[in-house]
């Protein structure tokens, strides 16, 4: 295990996780005013109508796939009788659809952001970095799904390697060998993903935590008193 391996597969994840949590805590406490989706729909309705839902729904499905693939150990699915072959096809087809929808939507959004002068002018440097990392992640994700899972005679079983390493981080006992054995694209995807999580709290992506599900069970009209309560709730 070289120093580089420790840096990439032990130090980077823990630094990213720390930044992720501390960053969110700091941002939520200090920067409520900028905590928003930063929608540009007002400026240009073009393309957004299909691209934004495609990207967001595709991404949500892809996130769900990651949760299943990374959090559930292969031994668990095997013990309930799901064969590796079946899992591969399920993950490949569902993940392929999610990835393709995300990619198409993302391309639409990228096209809109670069070609609409009004939208382009609202793009900050953090936005550009976010877009760059998302591009890398989505392209590599699709490549792995299509190239290494679906359309290949020799599918790569990431669940017995890189997923083990991923879980081992949270057991505070990082299994570096499980990661270094994976194909390069898997390794790159993981490394870029950690940078992405470290950037997350400082970008516009924080609006993901504000999905207003509570709206469904809420009364329509809200009243507030002018004077906040002594408990400081408002």
């Amino acid at each position: 295990m070289s120093a580089g391996d420790v840096l990439l597969w032990v130090i980077l994840p823990y630094v990213a996780i720390t930044t992720f949590f501390v960053g969110h805590w700091w941002r939520y406490r200090n920067d409520q005013f900028a905590w928003t989706s930063r929608s540009t729909q007002l400026l240009d309705r073009r393309v957004l109508g299909w691209a934004s839902p495609a990207f967001h729904y595709g991404a949500l499905a892809a996130i769900g796939g990651h949760v299943i693939g990374l959090c559930i150990p292969e031994s668990l699915t095997a013990s309930v009788g799901i064969s590796e072959n079946f899992y591969r096809w399920f993950a490949g087809v569902a993940g392929g659809i999610a990835g393709a929808v995300t990619l198409v939507g993302f391309c639409g959004l990228l096209f809109r952001r670069t070609t609409s002068p009004r939208v382009r002018r609202t793009t900050s440097r953090v936005d550009i970095l976010t877009y760059f990392l998302l591009t890398v992640l989505i392209v590599m994700g699709c490549w792995m799904t299509f190239g290494h899972t679906l359309f290949t005679s020799d599918p790569y079983n990431y669940r017995s390697s890189i997923a083990d390493w991923w879980r081992s981080i949270f057991y505070l006992n990082p299994d570096v060998e499980a990661a270094t054995g994976a194909p390069l694209v898997y390794q790159l995807h993981a490394i870029v993903a950690w940078s992405f999580w470290a950037l997350f709290p400082f970008s516009r992506l924080v609006h993901a935590w504000s999905i207003p599900l509570q709206y469904v069970g809420r009364p329509y009209i809200l009243y507030r008193r002018r004077y906040g309560s002594r408990r400081g709730l408002i």
Binding site: Q32, W35, Q41, T122, P219, L222, S229
Partner: protein, 529 residues
Amino acid sequence: MKIRAQVGMVMNLDKCIGCHTCSVTCKQVWTNRPGAEYMWFNDVETKPGLGYPKRWEDQEQWKGGWELDRKGRLRLKAGGRVKKLLSIFSNPDLPQIDDYYEPWTYDYEKLITAPLSDRDPVARARSQLTGEEITEIKWGPNWDDNLAGAPERIHQDPLTDGIQEQVKATYEQAFMFYLPRICEHCLNPSCVASCPSGAMYKREEDGIVLVDQEKCRGWRFCVSGCPYKKVYFNHRTGKAEKCTLCYPRIEAGLPTICSETCVGRIRYLGLVLYDVDRVEAAASVPDERDLLDAQRDVFLDPEDPEVRARAAADGIPDDWIEAARRSPVYALAHRYRVALPLHPEFRTLPMVWYVPPLSPIVNSLETDGYEADPDQVFPAIDSMRIPVDYLANLLSAGDPEVIRDVLRRLAAMRGHMRKREVLGVHDEEIASSAGMSVEDVESMYRLLAIAKYEDRYVIPQAHTELADRLMEQQGTCGLDFEGGPGNCGMVVPESEADVEGFMLSAEGPVELDIVKMANGQRRDEGTAA
């Protein structure tokens, strides 16, 4: 019954000269900053005309406000909560900035930095969205002011839908008035109901509707949910903004800046006491034309001693109740019945009301040989079907009788005062022919025509010292005063009781106190009784 006070406004359209002073002072105070260039919390539209944003009144296009479902229950016209959440990534009903206009500025620096030349330097227009030069400005604020471009555009005014073609063509010669608009601070605000984050709220003390800038997450549904299109999206901050009714001024007992600076003295500000428990039922009446009376029924008469006692029990300070008795808004809306809500059919129960304009009608009648004598004007009002229908589309959900009734009262006031002042004749006939007493006609005249500052603006100061007392009432239901039903003693967390309700007080279900009985008296946990 649960009584609350609301600061309302009435605008007398008869006296609006369309000078836009209200818009300009409002802009200087509130929206003169990046991201807000296109926002006009107050704007003045020429009617007939497209409005701002274009065709905002057409809810078949914009899906703002409320409607009744098949069972007669109130629901948002844009669809239910789940549908909203599913379309959160791209709001299908959101206007684009071009529906307002693309804001721009000019290269003023060119005027002083241009090199010596035979020709005068020109300050070119530059978009404030892209920074690029705009060679041709195609739309802007008040682009159709004073019927500019009316022949091409007048047919696009949604209010002329259903009015015959030949009639429309004569509008520009016969008929024009100004409609100043601010946020309606509705009793049943659909913007608040549309906000998924719960960032929008109505203030309990004075009914002002505001956006919590810290809680807003920029989901944009308030913009499309408001049928008056008076919530705006700041494209720099990514948050919603709206007319605040100048609450810092109102709290200090001062009129809003648009009212203060109105040179025509058309605006009135005052309190209305209303029953918050009747709001939902009033907004749900099946026939749109009943909405006006339903809303008037929600208002409570401050001259009624029972109402005053109940209001005091509900925590409204005495000087506020006294101010409600002197309220010009209540007087014009309820006592004299000459003010009408803007588009009551949106079912939001708006609280900025309008006295419809009599002048254009009378002016055009006078050129036909009539005078503003009700004996002659009454039949003439009825024969002037076109403006009455147009005003009915604007102010009475299409019911021309309501408009005729108001115009008769206004004409009667003119006729009565003319006889008294010019001829020296005291004639009770005219007032009674419009269903009013002479006292009412003359005090309405004082309010509308003399319009003294202290009569137009009756605004009690906010009671900061009551902050704690209001706190004590948190989580109570306000029914257990002396002689009241007093059924609040059950040990039920109000959070459970309220969560199914249409309306919610204060912070939210989880944060309400649990009400407990102790020694036959109610106690709120956590507060010193």
